[in-house]
């Protein structure tokens, strides 16, 4: 695991990712005197790019290291251990890149609780989408198909899901659908991250239906815990599933 991290930290893509994030956050934060607005813009950047980059990069990395994983498995080690080490190394290095890119500028220029929440949700998103990438890796044999699946899943969660949710709300608007929507939001880690952040910014009511619902029904404290727990489940469940599949996989 240590070595996967070292290898990835030297990878230029991860470096570029960190630098781009850093440039974005510095510029966004210095444009606006209101740090809350700046954080919102950063949130949108995080919500759009972190899932896409995490899932794509991780999937490509996993597929490229398949021969190496094979070599490791020829050593006397458990399969589960190898797989989880790969995941840990990858999510640690992507998280570090995120922390460097968004964390350092934000903490320098706008250190408050909202900024910390942004970091936590970004990190959780990174881990969720690397876990999804791991699942894609064990489910697909073919690299091209795997990358396709990665793109589809990233787009689904960042764009398509919200559209479907809106359609649902629009067509069933006459019914009391507040509670079901709370449940449905839990199905999308990106939404969860958004809500987690918005609850801290006091603009939840301005930012759409689900945010307002969360504020109304759950309140800031409980709402945040609910969102975090759901996101942790989004990490653990794909991991458990991948381990199960990987144990019986032919390499």
């Amino acid at each position: 695991m240590k070595y996967v991290t070292v290898d990835l930290l030297r990878n230029k893509v991860v470096l570029v990712y960190a630098v781009v994030l850093a440039a974005l956050s510095f510029s966004v934060l210095s444009i606006d005197s209101n740090s809350s607005k700046g954080l919102l813009s950063l949130l949108n950047i995080t919500l759009l790019f972190v899932p896409l980059i995490s899932v794509l990069f991780s999937t490509i990395y996993f597929f490229n290291s398949i021969e190496f994983i094979e070599l490791l498995l020829a050593q006397p080690v458990k399969r589960t251990k190898v797989l989880l080490a790969e995941y840990a190394g990858l999510s640690i290095s992507l998280s570090l890149a995120y922390l460097l890119g968004i964390g350092v500028p934000v903490l320098i220029m706008a250190p408050n609780i909202a900024a910390l929440t942004l970091l936590v949700s970004g990190l959780l998103l990174t881990m969720v989408f690397s876990a999804i990438a791991l699942l894609i890796f064990v489910l697909f044999k073919d690299k091209t198909k795997g990358i396709g699946a990665a793109i589809v899943s990233a787009l689904f969660f960042t764009l398509l899901f919200d559209g479907l949710l809106l359609m649902f709300i629009y067509s069933f608007g006459d019914y009391p659908i507040d509670k079901p929507i709370l449940g449905m939001v839990a199905l999308n880690p990106v939404d969860l991250a958004r809500i987690l952040m918005l609850l801290q910014l006091d603009v939840a009511v301005l930012m759409g239906y689900s945010g307002a619902l969360f504020k109304k029904f759950l309140g800031t404290g409980f709402g945040s815990i609910y969102a975090i727990v759901c996101m942790l489940l989004w990490i653990v469940l794909p991991l458990l599933w991948s381990v199960r599949v990987f144990r019986r996989k032919d390499l």
């Binding site: 996967v4 030297r10 990878n11 490229n64 290291s65 070599l71 020829a74 006397p76 080690v77």
Partner: protein, 242 residues
């Protein structure tokens, strides 16, 4: 040392291995031969536990492989294509494998020196040629002096000098009473190493004989001639059957 009992494995409709029974003893150097896609690599991967058999069992040193993973400490494996994390140096890769194998403290670093890898330990894997990567794979397979060596196309991509060094090393280990399983399409490379030949075709075991037996049957001395004769006979009997 390795006993394979009615091993069957299919990928979809394609039968990669069809009811294979084999026993490999120590001190032998066994060549796995056969045309492309005949199941050689699948057989090797089954022994390593990388491919999970459908039917049948594999016993290594008296232990049935399966959920057990410790048996792999007795096997040194050199894959057909060695790919490593690109930004790691050769030294780091070797250290990493050593760290994984904490149980083994004695290292056989003879090949690292004789193949000249000790001089380029700080080069990253990305900058290496295919042949040099192959050398790294070879060094890793021999590092812990295991009882069983599984070498998948070991000499492919190596220059003649290195390939000769590797062959000498293989012979030396074999003479120490270790079991060598080797696949190669370069039959002349196997001359002088191999003591037995396993011939697979379409996932079926065609024959498993010692080199001496084969030489008697075909009347040829060189391994490539021997196999060519056998293959020719094989195809004529096949066509007769059709």
């Amino acid at each position: 040392m390795i006993k394979i009992d009615s091993l069957t494995k299919s990928f979809g409709k394609f039968k990669a291995l069809d009811n294979i029974n084999l026993t490999f003893d120590k001190g032998r150097a066994i060549s796995l031969l056969g045309p492309n896609g005949s199941g050689k690599t699948t057989l090797i991967k089954s022994i390593l536990g990388l491919v999970i058999p459908e039917k049948g069992s594999i016993t290594v040193n008296g232990k049935v492989t399966g959920r057990d993973w410790q048996y792999r400490s007795q096997i040194g494996y050199m894959p057909q294509i060695g790919r490593y994390p690109e930004n790691m140096t050769i030294g780091q890769v070797i250290d990493m494998i050593k760290e994984i194998r904490k149980d083994e403290k004695k290292y056989d670093e003879e090949l690292i020196v004789s193949l000249g890898l000790d001089k380029i330990l700080t080069k990253t894997m990305r900058s290496l040629s295919g042949g040099t990567r192959q050398k790294v794979s070879a060094c890793l397979a021999f590092l812990f002096s295991p009882d069983i060596f599984i070498l998948d196309e070991p000499t492919a991509g190596l220059d003649p000098v290195s390939s000769e060094i590797l062959k000498e090393k293989i012979i030396k280990e074999c003479n120490k009473g270790k079991l060598i399983l080797i696949t190669s399409h370069v039959l002349s490379d196997l001359d002088g190493i191999t003591s037995d030949v396993v011939y697979l075709q379409d996932g079926k075991l065609i024959f498993y004989k010692t080199v001496e037996e084969l030489q008697d049957i075909t009347g040829e001395m060189k391994l490539n001639k021997v196999i060519a004769t056998v293959m020719k006979n094989q195809s004529t009997t096949n066509s007769v059957r059709v």
